[in-house]
């Protein structure tokens, strides 16, 4: 017994596994287990990187033909499990597709799910995951008490991705069975929102704006400062919901998790939902006119002041250097 067979739901873009996928494979490998990746698509382009991060085997569904991965990949997983390869633990990235695949599979297998986790540990047959709550102020440790496979989803950047496991994973076909009435949703067009500069979740500097920016037009200040610092602009949920900036800017529980060298929070009070996405930043600078704002509780440098005064001065000072 013990936990010796772990699967990772692998996601890829343009033939390369996502960083989140490689993080989970690295962690799975560190648990001293046989690791398999399970990927939508033919898996050939990704097999080498997946293998080098720990996946000895790569289950590949083949082209999904526009069917959403949630229902398709979970059905393919169920087929493999019914065929006799039962993992002890399946790790999912806490992403749109990761959540969907895990949800569908949980019903198919009648297994509970634990989500939003940032750590996993194994003791004999027991698997425990750790999940931050209350904006990361407290950590909850939960164990699975039912039959394997255990299903758990992990927030991005919970683990470091390290190559070095060696050979490419062996690609094994895991076709999608007939989906019946559940397969009714199909992607008819894909839109990529182009952004210039570094990606929000990879940038060394993130400048984020919140409600304190006052109005949509003033978000330009945030974008200008981000550009000067070769960073990425981000936003709190409040101004995304208000429609000032696209959802892809959102930092927090329901948005991106960022861990930049410097995070500048401009006019952001620091709601729990936001803090959980940025408190891993190495250095935090906060500008807010309310000195009671929770963001000051975690800021390395806090300026109690008006963003409409401080940001333009800061931008001018940086431009003149």
């Amino acid at each position: 017994m013990g936990i010796d067979n772990i699967w990772v739901f692998a996601q890829a873009a343009d033939g390369a596994p996502t960083t989140g996928t490689l993080e989970l494979l690295t962690k799975a490998r560190s648990l001293g287990s046989n690791v398999s990746a399970f990927i939508a698509g033919d898996g050939t382009a990704e097999a080498s990187a997946l293998g080098d991060h720990g996946a000895a085997k790569v289950y590949a569904t083949g082209d999904l033909g526009g069917v959403l991965p949630g229902v398709a990949v979970s059905s393919a997983m169920k087929t493999v499990i019914d065929g006799g390869d039962t993992p002890d633990l399946i790790m999912f990235p806490q992403s749109y597709e990761g959540r969907d695949v895990m949800s569908r599979l949980s019903v198919k297998l009648d297994r509970t799910v634990l989500t939003n986790s940032t750590e996993v540990s194994v003791d004999g047959d027991s698997v425990t995951v750790q999940t931050p709550i209350f904006g990361g102020a407290k950590l909850v440790n939960s164990t699975f008490t039912g039959e394997v496979p255990h299903l758990a989803a992990f927030r991005p950047k919970s683990f470091a991705a390290e190559a070095g496991a060696g050979a490419a994973g062996e690609v094994v076909s895991a076709p999608v069975p007939d989906l019946g009435s559940t397969g009714g949703a199909t992607v008819t067009a894909v839109h990529v929102e182009e952004t210039s500069g570094p990606k929000l979740d990879e940038a060394a500097v993130v400048v984020a704006g919140g409600r304190g920016i006052g109005e949509a037009e003033k978000f330009e200040m945030v974008e200008n400062l981000a550009k000067l610092l070769k960073g990425a602009p981000g936003a709190s949920r409040a101004i995304v919901d208000a429609g000032w900036v696209p959802y892809s800017y959102q930092v927090g529980q329901t948005g991106k998790v960022v861990k930049p060298t410097v995070y500048i929070a401009a006019g952001i009070s620091g709601a729990t939902q936001h803090m959980v996405g940025m408190k891993g930043a190495k250095n935090i600078i906060a500008i807010n006119k309310d000195q009671e704002a929770p963001i000051f509780g975690i800021a390395d440098l806090g300026i109690v002041g008006d963003v409409h005064k401080v940001l333009p001065q800061l931008i001018a000072a940086l431009e003149s250097r």
Partner: protein
Amino acid sequence: MHVIVCVKQIPDPALPGELDPTTNTLKREGKLILDESDSYGVEMALQLVAAAGDGEVSLVSMAPNDEVSGLRTALAMGAAKAVLVSDPTLAGADALTTAKVLAAATKKLGDADLIIAGTESSDGYTGTVPEQMAEVLGLPSVTFAKTVEVADGTLKVDRQTEEGYDEVTCSLPAVVSVTAGVVEPRYPSFKGIMSAKSKPVENVTAADLGVESVSWAQQIVSVEDAPAREAGEIIEDDGESFNKIVEFLDELKVI
């Protein structure tokens, strides 16, 4: 067109959350309000029914203590009726159990063309219930919808992705989870608030719904404080504080 919306009633998020010292689950005593992230689903449903020209919006919810305050808000917005699963054996239920219960509760309301839910609740944020419900009911689903339309019996959704969005079409009936901001939720009118008081809310238990074996295979073993992040230097802006930021950025070698 009949649209069922799953709504959650949660403790006021403006108040600090608390854990029950014995079970370590979130305290949900006292007054519960409509989760703001569900108000988008209610509004979406009302707009779809209005666009269809006939039909109604009904609600399903699960709450431990017969609490209806949040449901009344959604009824005041314009929903016609609700089923509330209120059952002490469901306190602390996992997402899978919740999905089974809510799926069974929808059956009480008759055939639905569409079931709408938020992408995740603002208190527990597991984020799996809508897709789990779809699987329990054997329906297709589209999660993370940022726009929703129904035309000629087909659902058209712009679905949020990491890189942008996908256009998705889906047969009905189906389950859709909507992101915050998908529509602007209306404020209940005075008339709406008054009429909501007499709209039917049916109270049921898990057993009434035929959901048996109410148990879940996870257990909280401990809760610990996260390592605290020390607050640094907080200064009042004196018109020159931007220099402090420049110095700090300089020290960090990002400029």
